[in-house]
Amino acid sequence: MNFSGIFRDNTLEFFCCIIPLIVKKPSTDPSLETNITTSYKSVRQAAEALKVSQSSLFYHINRKNENININSYRNRYVVYIKRGYHSYPATFYSKKRLTLPWRDKQARGLRKYSSQSNHNKPDLFAYYLAGLIEAQNSAIIVPTSERSKKGQLNYPSIKITFDS
């Protein structure tokens, strides 16, 4: 039999049949939902089809996931990107919807200080920071209205001035 001819003519079908068997491995984390979707022509098209912005997705193409903290993500999408006759799987991780990014950062920051609590360092730094913010050269600015006259969202800020 001429196998090369079969591969040349039915490459896409071959990948579409074989690849799902590869990626349908049981997930190590049962809470992480894996959604296996159909093929897309590009990463952008896949992102649009998943109804999430491309920038908000973290995707890996044919790469092992050792560096990914799967607890930070809620959904995993496996899609197939077709480039001509070739097709390759790409794994997308969408961010957790129940945890906002800034809360993650805050938690990380607090963990950083709580991990040092044995040395009493976080409290000392917090007291110093409190004194610095309460001094004359610092200000806590809280907006009085949610939006400005131009309709832009107002944000609070903390300013510390160092002069010599």
Binding site: W102, L132, E134, Q136, S157, T161
Partner: protein
């Protein structure tokens, strides 16, 4: 820079027309981190501004929950509690160090001999400046702690506001 590095947040900029630098915290996560650090460690009437900021942050989180952005399982877990003024002794924490760095100044003044003074005069001075009449009580406490005299001086600025 050290503060910026320690908190992993904030942006440093040069103040126009003055030899001063301003460290600004605008992002929500950095403000939350600072609030969680200094809450309960403040000693001055500026705590009212902190309370306003906490109200604003709590209000923002409640509106997040209405849009599905907050953890629905623990809606009250993220609410920041307003802690009261700190009344610990001044020498028990580095609060005063931070306060002096923000609003204090050390001065050395040297006067050459003149017609009135036969000998040169060297004067060392430490000054802690805080504007607003509501700051009188805790400034008085600092003066008592340092074993120094304390006086309120009224400076007529172009805005005609009293300063202590």
């Amino acid at each position: 820079m050290l503060l910026q590095k320690e908190l992993s947040a904030g942006s440093l900029s040069k103040k126009k027309g003055a030899n001063a630098y301003v460290l600004t915290f605008n992002s929500r996560e950095s403000i939350l981190l600072i609030v969680s650090l200094i809450n309960g460690k403040m000693r001055t009437p500026k705590i009212q501004t902190l309370y306003t900021l906490i109200d604003w942050l709590n209000l923002g989180q409640n509106s997040d929950s209405s849009t599905g952005g907050l953890d629905i399982k623990h809606p009250a877990a993220e609410t920041i509690v307003k802690l009261p003024l700190n009344s610990e002794p001044l020498d028990s924490s580095p609060w005063l160090a931070g306060f002096i760095e923000g609003g204090g100044s050390f001065q050395v003044r040297a006067t050459a001999p003149n017609a009135k003074n036969k000998y040169p005069k060297v004067e060392c001075r430490f000054e802690l400046y805080q504007s607003g009449t509501s700051n009188y009580s805790f400034m008085s406490d600092i003066a008592t702690f340092l074993g120094s005299s304390f006086k309120g001086i009224e400076i007529r600025s172009k805005f005609d506001s009293p300063n202590i």
